[in-house]
């Protein structure tokens, strides 16, 4: 008899049972997929470094200034080193690798190229297989060239180094653990040994060859100190942790993915709780009847528990099957720089599925417990008019000026706040990550961001191909550059464009204080003043023997403070400079010092620049800036890559496209979640409210009015939710992003920018519109309910 009732129940309430089955499938899919993805993402970077063979210390040398090898430098430390290996390579200027038609790629940093036989680390292709060969005439490029350089598989690239010139087909992309992050300036390419040979020879001649050393040691700090004290000129020198921290943007994305996973789990649990309590509350009449005919509480409850066990078992099996592709989808979008392998196992999915079943049974147990307290009559009466005894709304139609459906929708929301709170929470949870991403992307892509990237914010940025100043050994390069910029300013002024032209130069140098050394990349403004930069403590350098320093570098120097004198070595020249203040910049992961503009520095030791900058002094509009950019192109045909300051910030941070992809993914995911939840909740409500809908029809309500009423209920909740999320978006984003920027060396000075139209209007309204359409279409089912069905309990 027990199973007969159960069978009948499953059949009779098939719509509601189908809905709960769908929710269970979605919950299991979300939870299993998300947990798997969480496991993969949290361990991804460590696993990636392990698989790639990244050692404790790495450094890249220039042969042109090399007088001794790393091995010689570390001669006294060899007992603390278990292994030293190196990859031979040569450096190429980004302008020397172009597309076949001569067009420059968008990659604007130095490119390291190496022959395949020289590789010591493991490099992985798109299928996560180790790369062992490169065919002749082909080149493999690191993943970041796609986003940062616009280079795609199948493109043909022309390499030109001195007299050697050859075209290569891009045969594939690879994961480069050492230099693959967006913040590591250089990019790497691998080619066939035979193809590489003439380039290597030419590079030797030109002094642009080098070696990438990999040092395995337990004393990384001491080794770094020894290397810093040497006269070797490094393109890069750092610990494994430093490389790891350069993946900050990838980790931000991974962290966001964890947030998404957590959101999905919360949504799944909220929705499950709703469905179960909603389903059981609509069963009170049945419970009353069973009580009335003498069935005991345990017997009644066990019937529902067995029913939910049966449904959840089926849902868990289907959900588990779907969780694998869903988990992979989540993991795959996490990063194109970090190789994330799906670490989760089938057991994780099974455990998650069992956990979901347990939660469902717990919810069902709690919900049916309410039935214990009710007498048969209570249960039947409640089943007749709803599961609760008292109306909770405080609105009155007689006193309201609202239209009937709007009033009823608002009144319904007020009367069942718990039910609609779920929609508010789900909507807010799905919209907030999009708003957060948009605010972060907007902040990173704003020209104000240049101030924490070591530059003075400017309206326009450009690339200057004239590098001769860098190689003038007499130290006159800096003056040549100032003269050039002054001339440009004059030309601009003559053409009605009042502007200042300047740039920031990166200088390789060594810093010493109290026996501690550091090799932070340092900055000096050309044709601008140190005082134009934000200083977080103390004051900007006022004299040429003063510097500003980043807190991280000061810490590396044993806690140097304002007023302390540090020794800076540039080439063979030493300077004693007084710290006048602290500043913060993300450049070089929060490491660096800023020189006074008058300090005489030999730009032979310049490590380049982010490019020239133009700041208009008459505060033009955005449109005027665009027009002026066109004019500048005409006036200075030698300048390339002329862009706005915001575009410059976007190029430096290099995360714009990733954020755009993520935003799009979140938008789609949020839309899908909101649509699913809205459709299933509305369908549940229609079933539960069949009697009321029939009553409304009996008193003359048109189908369209009832559909409007149902849709408006969701719109009201969505509007409440949108207002809440709109108000919380910026403070929450600042709260979440501050520790991330702080990790990158910037605690102050970030100007958060929010596009109100997008964040507060476009995203919420888009999601709201999708939800409204879904509810509208689902509510159309009410057309099938006739006025006669006033006594329907499904």
């Amino acid at each position: 008899m027990f199973f007969h009732i159960l069978k009948k129940d499953l059949k009779r309430g098939r719509t509601m049972n189908t809905i709960i089955l769908l929710f269970i499938i979605i919950s299991v899919m979300f939870i299993s997929g998300s947990v798997n993805s969480m496991i993969s993402v949290t361990s991804s970077l460590d696993n990636y470094f392990e698989n790639a063979g990244i050692p404790e210390v790495m450094c890249a040398t220039y042969n042109r200034t090399e007088t001794q090898t790393v091995e010689k430098v570390l001669e006294n430390d060899m007992d603390r080193i278990s292994k030293i290996e190196y990859e031979p390579m040569w450096y190429m200027d980004h302008e020397d690798i172009t597309f076949a038609d001569g067009k420059e790629t968008e990659f604007k940093s130095t490119i390291d190229v190496m022959p395949i036989s020289g590789t010591k680390l493991s490099y992985f292709d798109e299928n996560k297989n180790k790369i062992t060969e490169v065919k002749k005439g082909e080149v493999l490029v690191a993943n970041k060239f796609e986003n940062q350089g616009g280079i795609k598989v199948g493109d043909t690239l022309k390499f030109k180094l001195g007299k050697v010139e050859k075209e290569f087909k891009v045969a594939g992309k690879f994961y480069d653990a050492a230099m693959g992050s967006a913040l590591m300036g250089n990019g790497r390419m691998i080619m066939n040994d035979e193809d590489a040979e003439p380039f290597m020879n030419e590079a030797e001649k030109k002094g642009v060859s080098g070696k990438f050393y990999f040092i395995s040691t337990d004393s990384a700090d001491d080794i770094i100190d020894t290397l810093n004290e040497s006269d070797l000129s490094f393109a890069f020198c750092g610990k494994r942790e430093f490389i790891k921290s350069s993946y900050i943007f990838d980790m931000i994305i991974a962290l966001l993915l964890l947030v998404v996973s957590a959101i999905l789990i919360i949504v799944a649990l909220i929705v499950l709780r709703f469905t179960i309590s909603f389903t059981i509350s609509s069963e009170f009449r049945e419970i009353g009847v069973m009580k009335a005919i003498g069935l005991g509480n345990l017997k009644i409850r066990s019937q529902y528990l067995v029913k939910y066990l049966a449904i959840s078992a089926v849902g868990a099996v289907i959900g588990t099957a779907l969780s694998f592709p869903f988990g992979n989808l989540l993991t795959d979008i996490s990063s194109n720089s970090v190789m994330v392998e799906n670490e989760g196992s089938v057991f994780t999915n099974i455990i998650c599925a069992i956990a979901v079943i347990a939660v469902i049974m717990l919810f069902a147990f709690i919900c049916t417990r309410k039935a214990n307290k009710l007498s048969p009559v209570d249960a039947i009466r409640n089943g007749q008019t709803g599961e609760r005894f008292k109306r909770k709304g405080f609105l009155h139609l007689s006193k309201s000026r609202l239209g009937t459906t709007t009033f009823m929708a608002a009144n319904d929301v007020m009367s069942a706040p718990k039910r609609f709170l779920i929609i508010i929470v789900v909507f807010a949870l799905t919209i907030l990550p999009i708003q957060f991403l948009d605010i972060c992307a907007d902040t990173l892509n704003n020209k104000q961001m240049l101030s924490v990237l070591g530059c003075v914010p400017s309206d326009v940025a450009f690339s200057d191909n004239d590098n001769s100043y860098q190689y003038t050994t007499d130290g006159s390069g800096r003056q040549m550059l100032i003269d050039k910029y002054k001339k440009m300013e004059q030309t601009l002024a003559d053409n009605g464009i009042p502007a200042r032209v300047f740039c920031e130069q990166f200088i390789s140098c060594k810093q010493e204080f109290n026996g501690k050394t550091a090799k932070a990349l340092s900055l000096q403004g050309v044709n601008n003043k140190a005082s134009e930069h934000k200083i977080t403590k103390g004051s900007a350098p006022q004299n040429k023997d003063e510097i500003a320093i980043q807190p991280n570098t000061a810490n590396d120097l044993g806690g140097a403070e304002i007023g302390d004198t540090i020794t800076v070595t540039i080439g063979d020249k030493k300077y004693d400079l007084i710290i006048s203040g602290f500043y913060e910049a993300m450049t070089n992961m929060g490491q660096g010092i800023r020189f006074h503009e008058d300090l005489d520095i030999n730009y032979n030791f310049s490590n380049g620049t982010f490019g020239g900058q133009i700041q208009f002094t008459d505060d033009p509009s955005d449109k005027e800036i665009d027009d002026r950019i066109e004019k500048i192109k005409d006036l200075f045909p030698d300048l390339t890559d002329i862009k706005t300051g915001a575009e410059q910030a976007q190029d430096i941070t290099s995360v714009g496209p990733v954020f755009d992809t993520l935003k799009f993914f979140f938008l789609i995911l949020s839309a899908a979640i909101v649509i699913m939840v809205a459709v299933l909740m509305e369908r549940s409500m229609v079933i539960k409210e069949t009697s009321e809908i029939a009553t409304m029809k009996a008193i003359g309500f048109k189908d369209s009015k009832i559909i409007k009423l149902h849709t408006k209920r969701f719109i009201i909740t969505a509007v409440i939710s949108a207002v809440i999320s709109g108000l919380l978006a910026k403070p929450l984003s600042i709260l979440v992003a501050t520790p991330i920027f702080s990790f990158m060396g910037v605690n102050q000075g970030i100007t958060y920018s929010m596009n109100t139209l997008r964040v507060a209007i476009i995203y919420p309204v888009t999601i709201m519109a999708l939800m409204a359409v879904s509810v509208w279409l689902t509510a159309s089912y009410t057309k099938r309910i006739t006025a006669q069905q006033t006594s329907s309990i499904e």
Partner: protein
């Protein structure tokens, strides 16, 4: 000559259950004049509720014509039919179906807020609702929730709701079926009072005591009207026992 409110001609309703055809109504024809109070009686499964639902447009007819105020409601599109239900008729159910998120007064005035033909402000509608409640003796329950009042009070509230748009006819399906005797008497008294004021009422009942208060009784068996009995208008001081006896004798003649 009395004005005809409702004219039903050759009304048929057929259900197909488990591939079996069940003719619930077979060519039913009758008319209802303005101011009448008609009871439909018959044994269980005779088709009396089907007749009420089909004649009121709550359910689709298989064939036939139902003319209400010049409209054939059996052929009206859904939208217009909803409008007819809203503006021209009222409906009272056996179970007192009301919207649980509204209080009693709001439930009563709800149809009026939707009716477009009568231009009334929310204030006027509220006053009308309160006047009806006063008339039905339930004004003190205006602000109550629907589960804070008795069954009899709730049914009287349902009558108020059916009256709020001044309908041409009220349909009632066993309006006292779920009430005890005293509440049943109260509700019938209210319906009779409305009828005396000119409201046309057509109801289904199996209770001769209730039917005795109607001006005419139709007896239906197997989907066909087997006969009808005119009892005349039930005045305030009418002898209900005599009317009930007359009706019972007739019903026995009809084979009930």
């Amino acid at each position: 000559m009395a004005q005809t409110i409702l004219q039903v001609t050759d009304l048929c309703k057929t259900y197909i259950t488990n591939k079996k055809q069940n003719n619930a109504l077979r060519n039913v024809s009758f008319k209802v004049d303005k101011g009448e109070m008609i009871a439909i009686m018959g044994p269980s499964g005779s088709g009396k509720s089907t007749l009420l639902y089909t004649a009121s447009g709550m359910d689709d007819a298989t064939s036939g014509e139902v003319m209400l105020d010049g409209d054939n409601i059996a052929a009206l599109p859904k939208k217009k039919l909803a409008n007819v239900r809203l503006e021209k008729m009222g409906f009272i159910f056996q179970q007192m179906h009301m919207l649980k998120n509204l209080n009693i007064l709001d439930n009563i005035i709800l149809p009026a807020t939707e009716a477009k033909s009568k231009k009334r402000s929310r204030k006027q509608i509220t006053e009308q609702g309160e006047a009806l409640m006063r008339k039905m003796g339930i004004i003190e329950t205006a602000g109550n929730d629907i589960n804070e009042v008795s069954g009899g009070q709730l049914q009287r509230a349902c009558i108020c709701r059916s009256m709020i748009n001044d309908p041409q006819i009220i349909f009632a399906d066993e309006p006292t079926g779920a009430l005890n005797r005293s509440s049943s008497d109260e509700v019938m008294e209210m319906l009779c009072s409305l009828n005396r004021d000119g409201t046309t009422i057509m109801m289904v009942t199996h209770d001769a005591r209730v039917a005795a208060k109607c001006s005419r009784v139709m007896f239906i068996v197997d989907g066909e009207i087997k006969g009808e009995k005119s009892l005349g208008m039930c005045e305030e001081n009418a002898n209900i026992r005599d009317r009930e006896r007359t009706l019972n004798n007739w019903l026995m003649e009809m084979g009930w």
